[in-house]
């Protein structure tokens, strides 16, 4: 699993809201559209994410409809497993000193 994919999953799992739009995910995960959307579509095709259009009328909103993404049960399980797998690696990293990582 690539780092941007983990960022997307991490963003969705850590979000206080149930669903986030593509633009919001991109903003929080600091990913550009060209990187983000292929990942979102791939995860959705794999059943890790589900998406829906916002229900309001775009004419009334005066802007294009947003599409919201949320992590499915399967996605949450798999993502948690992936993060757990990575955890030991992170533990080995040097502890931050004064807010910055101290490289030996």
């Amino acid at each position: 699993m690539s780092a941007p994919t983990l960022k997307v999953l991490g963003t969705l799992l850590a979000s206080m809201q149930d669903e986030l739009s593509g633009a919001e995910i991109g903003r929080v995960a600091k990913l550009s559209s060209g990187t983000l959307y292929p990942i979102l579509l791939r995860l959705e095709a794999a059943g890790w994410l589900a998406s829906r259009w916002e229900t309001e009328d775009p004419k009334a909103l005066g802007r294009p409809r947003r599409r919201f993404y949320r992590v499915t049960g399967v996605g949450a399980q798999k993502a948690s497993a992936a993060f757990r797998e990575l955890e030991p690696g992170f533990r080995k990293l040097p502890k931050p000193v004064g807010g910055r990582i101290a490289w030996a």
């Binding site: 739009s21 593509g22 633009a23 991109g26 550009s32 559209s33 060209g34 990187t35 983000l36 959307y37 292929p38 579509l41 791939r42 259009w53 802007r63 294009p64 409809r65 947003r66 599409r67």
Partner: protein, 198 residues
């Protein structure tokens, strides 16, 4: 005189720049729209409408005109990434299907002695097949064998093939298959097998 000319030039320059900026600003929505249309145009038909709306919404949420333009341009990269991923997936599926059947097909052809193949320790099958056989050829081969050949097919023949020094091409495989089917239909006796052992 020089001072007056300089002042006039400054005024004209300022006005021109402003006009140009206004013109660009006015064209910006059209330009971003064109970029997104171009990006979705490369995608499969079932994804175009969805991503056009989604990307338009994403671009719309960006604060400035330049960042809108940048996001729209980046969508082209996204579309390129998706197209490339799809092509890779297709090639991988095609290759694994061919891999599944190729051994059997070649085993049959060799057993019947209709093609002359020097069997070698075989490598790079996946790469070779992915390059040389498109999905349609693969499907044709699989169908040809599945539907029309009702003879026992030798199992477990191991794979990638080199015909002497030349690589075995998709055309050769297809020609071999066609020949086998034709001869089987006519009830012909196959020629003696190749003297190269499997």
């Amino acid at each position: 005189m020089g001072l007056i000319a300089g002042a006039a030039l400054t005024v004209i320059g300022g006005v021109s720049v402003r006009l140009l900026a206004d013109e660009l600003k006015a064209w910006m929505p059209h330009l971003t729209n064109r970029l997104i249309r171009h990006a979705v145009g490369k995608l499969p038909a079932d994804q175009r409408e969805r991503l056009f709306e989604e990307w338009s919404s994403d671009v719309d949420e960006r604060p400035g005109d330049l960042s809108k333009l940048w996001t729209a341009a980046d969508c082209i990269r996204g579309s390129w990434v998706m197209t490339r991923e799809r092509a890779r997936r297709k090639a991988r599926d095609g290759a694994s299907r061919v891999e599944l059947w190729l051994g059997r097909i070649l085993g049959l052809l060799e057993e019947r002695g209709f093609i002359l193949i020097r069997w070698r320790v075989l490598r790079n099958l996946r790469k070779q097949v992915a390059r040389e056989l498109d999905r349609a050829s693969c499907d044709r081969l699989v169908e040809a064998v599945r539907v029309r050949v009702e003879v026992p097919i030798r199992e477990g023949v191991r794979m990638t093939v080199r015909s002497g020094k030349a690589r075995m091409s998709a055309k050769l495989i297809e020609r071999g298959i066609a020949q086998v089917l034709k001869d089987l239909a006519q009830g012909a006796t196959p020629p003696p097998p190749s003297d190269d052992p499997p």
